[in-house]
């Protein structure tokens, strides 16, 4: 599947949407408009967008605490997202979930997750459904480098492998789990080596290169759909912001952050598109304008929306 110019521009726009969305969230977090915590995806936009562009609407994803990017890339409605973050009744979870639990099962987003690694076995479960119902779909399972040291990662990759489940495991390696550097949490440098334990293909890819990610996921997804089993893809990238709302960032240097900022996935893709003349300066301005507008609309929508009534408090603990 090759991407045409429109696809590429759409991807660029999506990356920019994530960036601007997260910038707005950062603002809300520092103002206290958002009352919980938030984990920003800034710097890692290429992964969600490259990966989700490689699948279809009816395919599934499982996401993480750092999930806004996956959500947007899977096609979420910004209004409902922003409303959820502001705890409003019109949010994806009617204000009950917040940032770490945004989900939209109907459109294939099986949910963010507050538990690191918590979504990995859930992805296996979706894989079982696909296989048993012969749906030819695929599941993209996102998680961070930290999650790779959770027991459930191990159990899940093994199960997916022995059952040839149609899951693509995508590790977003931003080199830190909170303050814990991969170099102290792992003896190995290349996390994709772990695929060998499960007899599945493992690849490492530049997580700031949206097209490379797209290609790897396309390949992994098509293997999965052909019943050839799961793949483990490790995307090296970097989170520009602190881990969550409050992070003194004592564990890394300003210099390191600056170095990574130079490798901005959006700037890089923009340059590629400009070089290829898929994009002009005017078009980028137009896109910027559209993106900002959509975020502003989401903010307006969210701010105008009501908080959930206390009557809903005890609703929906059990399904009928």
């Amino acid at each position: 599947m090759t991407l045409n110019k429109n696809d590429l521009i759409r991807m660029y726009k999506q990356m920019l949407t994530i960036r601007r969305f997260e910038e707005k969230v950062a603002e809300f977090l520092s103002q206290g408009t958002i009352h919980g915590t938030g984990h920003l995806y800034i710097g890692e936009e290429a992964i969600a967008v490259g990966a989700c562009r490689a699948i279809e609407n009816e395919d599934y994803i499982t996401s993480t605490h750092r999930g806004h990017g996956h959500c947007i890339a899977k096609g979420a409605d910004l209004n409902k997202m922003m409303s959820e973050l502001l705890g409003k009744e019109t949010g994806y979870c009617r204000g009950k979930g917040g940032s770490m639990h945004i989900a939209d099962v109907e459109t294939g987003n099986l949910g963010a997750n507050g538990v690191v690694g918590g979504g990995i076995p859930i992805a296996c479960g979706a894989g079982i459904t696909i296989k048993m119902k012969k749906l030819k779909r695929v599941v993209l399972c996102f998680f961070g480098d930290g999650a790779v040291n959770q027991g459930v990662f191990h159990e899940s990759l093994n199960l997916a492998s022995v059952w040839d489940l149609p899951v693509v495991f995508i590790c977003e390696n931003n080199f830190y789990a909170m303050s814990t550097a991969t170099k102290i949490a792992f003896k190995i440098k290349d996390l994709s080596l772990r695929a060998a334990s499960y007899g599945m293909p493992g690849v490492k890819v530049d997580g700031n290169d949206v097209l490379k990610i797209y290609e790897e996921v396309i390949e992994a997804a098509s293997r999965a759909r052909e019943d050839k089993g799961p793949t483990f893809i490790v995307c090296d990238s970097y989170r520009w912001k602190g881990h969550s709302r409050s992070d003194a960032e004592r564990y890394r240097t300003k210099k390191e952050v600056m170095e990574w900022k130079k490798r901005c996935p959006i700037e890089r893709f923009k340059k590629y598109l400009l070089d290829k003349r898929y994009l002009t300066r005017e078009m980028t301005e137009q896109i910027e304008w559209e993106v900002n507008l959509s975020i502003q609309e989401a903010v307006d929508f969210a701010q105008k929306s009501p908080f959930p009534s206390l009557k809903t408090l005890e609703q929906d603990v059990y399904a009928n």
């Binding site: 599934y60 009950k96 989900a103 992805a123 979706a126 603990v317 399904a319």
Partner: protein, 327 residues
């Protein structure tokens, strides 16, 4: 009505068979459930009947058993997962408590997790501290989970079918000592609804709420007590969540005395919750004596047979507790 005699084990198997035949979304997964038939033989023969796609042997990995079951439930299947011993739900606890139980609520009611987790609890087999626990109390504390504990073949069959049809995560707690117990059950299909208790024996002097295997012991004790002129009403809640409190309240209003009996450790066990709910209800005014709990000692289950028996209520303990309450 034509009946057939079934063991608890066979009753469970029949429920699984009927539900799998009825709904192709129902499937089973767990350790050694296929060719081995499960550690207690519940699923024996189902592999031959339904094939390995629907009777799935997993690797030895409890967290992914729970997590994958929920993931498939979230996307349209109706898994029945088995954890070989209740003690090992602790390994899948995050997926059970933090994920399965909470998804419906966290997602604003927009998704559901129709899964059953079958697991055998209880002591009495000499398997000691890590294979003998009754941990249902932990689960009852977690909103979003339903907790079912059948005490006889009839209920096991009807409740398992209802659990499979329920749209929530249901933990279905079997008891090792009950598997071989027999009973006549209807040949025709039937269901037992979740959330409905049953009066296992009517009586007037004392309400005895018993869970799981304690129902069997309580029934025996009640026979003896009847000879002493003490009439015991035995209520089996059958499902702890949701709890049919009303039935207990009504019985207490009649008998004015309440004894709660379970195998789980007393401290923090579900007996405390039943006691508290009755205390908080209008049945309180009808009580002639304070409510009493008879439950497992606050110890890990010991190995040596005499100690093991001593750790949880036996028929004689029930007799003693009942006499004390009535006398």
């Amino acid at each position: 009505m034509p009946t057939v005699e079934l063991t608890y084990r066979e009753a469970l198997r029949r429920a699984l068979r009927e539900e799998m035949a009825r709904d192709e979304n129902v499937y089973m997964m767990g350790e050694d459930i296929a060719i081995y038939g499960g550690a207690f033989g519940v699923s024996l023969g189902l592999l031959e009947e339904f094939g390995p796609e629907r009777i799935k042997d997993t690797p030895l990995s409890e967290s992914v058993i729970v997590g994958a079951a929920l993931g498939s439930a979230l996307t349209g299947m109706r898994p029945v997962a088995e954890i070989m011993f209740m003690d090992f739900i602790t390994i899948g606890m995050d997926q059970l408590i933090n994920q399965a139980a909470k998804i419906h609520y966290m997602y604003g009611g927009k998704a559901c997790v129709p899964m059953v987790l079958r697991t055998p609890g209880g002591s009495g087999t000499g398997a000691a501290a890590q294979h003998s626990q009754s941990l249902e109390g932990l689960l009852c504390h977690i909103p979003g989970l339903k907790v079912v504990m059948p005490s006889c073949p009839y209920d096991a069959l009807g409740l398992l079918k209802s659990s499979i049809r329920d749209n929530n995560p249901v933990v279905f707690v079997e008891h090792k000592l009950l598997y071989s117990g027999r009973e006549l059950v209807p040949e025709k299909e039937y269901l037992v609804p979740l959330g409905k208790s049953e009066v296992k024996r009517e009586g007037t002097d004392l309400t005895l709420v018993a869970l799981s295997v304690m129902v069997v012991r309580a029934l025996k004790a009640a026979d003896k007590l009847a000879q002493e002129g003490i009439s015991v009403e035995i209520i089996d809640p059958r499902t702890l969540v949701p709890l049919d409190l009303e039935a207990i309240i009504n019985s207490v209003k009649k008998t004015h005395r309440l004894l709660i009996v379970h195998e789980a450790c007393k401290r923090g066990g579900f007996g405390a919750e039943i006691l508290s709910q009755v205390e908080e209800s209008d049945a309180f005014d009808y009580l002639d004596v304070p409510i009493r709990r008879l439950a497992g000692s606050n110890i890990p289950i010991p190995y040596s047979p005499g100690l093991e028996k001593g750790a949880v209520p036996q028929e004689d303990d029930i007799l003693g507790a009942a006499r004390k309450l009535v006398g």
